[in-house]
Amino acid sequence: MTESKKIIVEKKVLSENDRIAAEIRESLKKNRVFTMNLVSSPGSGKTSLLEKTLATLGNELRMAVIAGDVQTENDANRLLKAGGKIIRPIVTGGACHLDARMVTKALENIKLADLDILFIENVGNLVCPSSYDLGEDMKVVLMSTTEGDDKPLKYPGMFRRSSVMILNKIDLLGLSDFDADRAISNARQINGNLEVFKLSCRTGEGLNEWYDWLKKGVIK
């Protein structure tokens, strides 16, 4: 009977993605591009936040957006209409997350030296994107007041891996049982270092604090 043999592998399954992401990160760092990977459930307001940001800060900061979705370029088209100058859609056709290879392709023909900020709008999904490094400086997780306030406890991986949490649709507080303090306390239980912004893309409340934070991030 042949003896069983063992090869020690000790490799990350997603090491190829990590390798490509590291290359992206080096490029972005070299060109001092402040890069954020925006994640959330579908419908929390990622595109709305970017529409407002591009429209308001478009003349002050040089920004680009890579907008990913399973189907359609609807988000990218909205961002162009809002005044976005450098918008690149990624249609995954089925993949539930963006990966580093897709981002590398989208960055072709973008002159990084001319950018202050790169936003990567991920596919709406709080599970899968958390394992795929895209070369970003940080993840920004959005949730809204029309979701459950226990969201952070249900998706600890994503809230743990994010540096910023944005609570959107605060204009709708009181129309459901959503408790903003409880949501933020749940988020801080998972990640005590989260920087939290409470805002409404629709009314504009709280957006100035977000814009100020972005500008500070660019200077750093």
Partner: protein, 113 residues
């Protein structure tokens, strides 16, 4: 989580690590899957089975070690297990902690005859 994609990535790694004539002798692929990785071990086994069916690897199986969440406190340097999703140091209460184990998606070994 898209366990089929993960299974395919495991298969790609095995094909890179072993000469093609050894593939049909692979018995076990050892994986480490962290509790916070977002990957469901049973779905992964099912996907792996589906992805290897009819190939040289169809007699192989996954041996999955599930890794619980461990963290290290940056303030008092205590190492501790994270239970019940409470990411705070049990000794000094700070949330300035780093997860040291629990989100692995790794291949540890390939066992073959």
């Amino acid at each position: 989580m898209h366990e089929l994609r993960i299974a395919e990535a495991v298969i790609d790694t095995v094909r890179r690590e072993l000469d093609s004539e050894k593939l049909s002798s692979v018995e076990t692929i050892g994986l480490r899957i962290g509790v916070m990785s977002g990957v469901d071990p049973e779905s992964l086994k099912f996907s792996f089975s589906a992805a290897t069916s009819g190939t040289e690897l169809d007699r192989s199986g996954l041996e999955i070690e599930i890794i619980p969440v461990q963290a290290h406190c940056e303030k008092c340097h205590k190492d501790f297990a994270v239970d019940e999703l409470i990411f705070r140091c049990p000794a000094c209460g700070t949330s300035d902690i780093n997860m040291t184990r629990g989100d692995e998606i790794e291949i540890s070994f390939i066992g073959y005859k």
